[in-house]
């Protein structure tokens, strides 16, 4: 375990140290993070990073391997465009948590604000609390699990993402509808619940997905008849 004190070193030094790791398996304990931005972003090795305190914007951005745990709240865009690995937030997350994530797992123990999982591209997000409005806007693939409630316009303009919500949904966005879960859906959900150490029966979640009405433009063909004489 390497200790790294952000009172003594800059974010640049922290990230460079994380990027310079040559082999998997190292652990970093980062102290005094004090809400700074772009902490632990762009990690490529299978390492463990614990951030002690609240983190600012884009914490663990574009995360590729290993685990980042934030012992506190996070700002906008935690784990944005994550590719794989795990990012775990013990507090709440601000807007756009897990935006465009292509893979990996983001766990938020508290609530996540608006646009959680926006443009999701294959990653998985589990929020133990509630999510704000426009969550999963234009989401393409992957899974969002919400153990609390979801705000307005959930899943607006979404493609193939699976959304599971245990509580209330304030409203569904354009092109999003309630779905009946298949065995495959339930197995994906129970796997994520297990990984996030949540003990709730998957069958209690309501599932939402695309009604495919926005998949193609609708074009009429009201051609005037040819005139013959």
């Amino acid at each position: 375990m390497r200790n790294f004190d952000c009172d003594l070193h800059s974010v640049r030094e922290l990230n460079q140290a994380l990027h310079d790791v040559q082999s998997d398996g190292e652990s970093f304990n980062v102290l005094n993070v004090k809400g700074q931005h772009a902490l632990a972003c762009g990690i490529t090795h299978n390492i463990n990073v614990s951030l002690q305190g609240h983190a600012g914007y884009y914490c663990a951005g574009m995360h590729q391997r290993g685990t980042v745990t934030v012992h506190g709240n996070v700002g906008v865009g935690v784990a944005e465009n994550m590719m794989s690995g795990t990012v775990h937030v013990t507090g709440n997350a601000s807007q756009s948590a897990g935006a465009t994530a292509h893979g990996g797992l983001l766990i938020v123990d508290g609530d996540a604000a608006a646009r959680c999982g926006i443009s999701l591209k294959g990653g998985s997000i589990v929020v133990k609390g509630s999510v704000g409005h426009m969550s999963c806007f234009m989401a393409q693939a992957g899974t969002l699990v919400v153990c609390g409630d979801a705000g307005e316009a959930l899943g607006d303009s979404l493609y193939e993402t699976r959304i599971f919500v245990l509580g209330e949904v304030e409203s569904l966005g354009a092109g999003c509808e309630r779905k009946t879960s298949t065995a495959e859906d339930l197995s994906i959900l129970s796997d994520l619940l297990a990984k996030a150490e949540i003990d709730i029966d998957p069958a209690q979640f309501a599932q939402y997905g695309s009604d495919k009405s926005l998949y193609n433009f609708s074009v009429d063909n009201a051609v005037l008849p040819e005139v013959s004489r």
Binding site: R12, H19, M62, E80, Q95, T100, H102, S119, N216, A222
Partner: protein, 438 residues
Amino acid sequence: MKPKAPGLVESALFDRRTIAEIDRAATTGIYDIRGFGAKRKLPHFDDLLFLGASMSRYPLEGYREKCATDVTLGDRFAKRPVKIDIPITIAGMSFGALSANAKEALGRGANLMGTSTTTGDGGMTPEERGHSNKLVYQYLPSRYGMNPDDLRKADAIEIVLGQGAKPGGGGMLLGQKITDRVAQMRTLPKGVDQRSACRHPDWTGPDDLAIKVIELREITDWRVPIYMKIGATRTYYDVKLAVKAGADVIVLDGMQGGTAATQDVFIEHVGIPTLAAIPEAVQALQEMDMHRKVQLVVSGGIRNGADVAKCLAMGADAVSIGTAALIALGCNHPNYDDQYRDIGSAAGFYDDYHEGLCPAGISTQDPDLMSQLDPELGGRRLANYLQCITLEAQTIARACGKSHVLNLEPEDLVAVSVEAAAMARVPLAGTKWIPGWS
């Protein structure tokens, strides 16, 4: 056919083109989607002229005397700024909109001339990286195919806030062009009409963007410059905010800029002409003491060396080309006229890039059509074209007495129309009058 009766008057308002468009709308119930750039006549670089040297200025010898063309982009923070040999770059055009052969040809041509190419919506292909010595990676609202490994492979990152053809609008790629490979790169079901977002998913304003820039710099260990591309509208303010947000290079795309696909109403009615946008950007940079420190790359309707030289004289550090590069590869070439007619168009008119039926093998994903374009030949043609317009720009610069094309200045220019004089902020020829400014 009966001859047209004398005295018949076609309405200027409801001319045949307008009638055809109303019929098209009544038939389909949907707006016209097309590629290419604005087709309407606008004040443009043709409305400017250079004042070659005579008594009061001293020219350089046309062929022999040195007139350098190299440009360095993004040396504000990056450890590795982009150094290009000519002040002309290849604009961002997506794989998906363009065929793999077209992307390869663009890379080959740019390499031959020592300049850069740019990825586009949909991510970076290995072929593209392989064939481009200097490749700018676009970071777009859709984040299709956005991959940190590719980000780290790039020579620069271009955050796209908008395009001149459609400022405020997202992109679209219609189902016909979503092949297996394109679908997989964009994580989308095959055959959907894909819409690219118009807003970035994880920042909303310049203050957030400033932090986003820090994140991108952190992930790439501050190696490469960060460009910001804006569609020309409120250019003065947008440039100031982009610089404040940390841009190393501003890419300014005027309303004539080409596109792969958007609504015709957008292309023709949103944004301001390239000519009007440049002085706004230069003024913003000068007021911030950032002119020539944050470089300005201008695009939108650049066709020849005179256009290049005029952009530089107005204060740009380089230009970027899209449509002209595709034309150099063979887009709209008369050789394909029969094939264009088969699909309801004609050589010189073709703009349905979104349909994926391009007979020249450029804006298509169909393997048979794509085979029409030999990337090696295409690369040579693009390099020839780039060489020609660079020589043209040098010719003008020498005539104005400049030993580097970047030494061209607004004082070298006059306008031949009142509109162009006002927009470009140079005097109407033969007068000292800059409408609105003097």
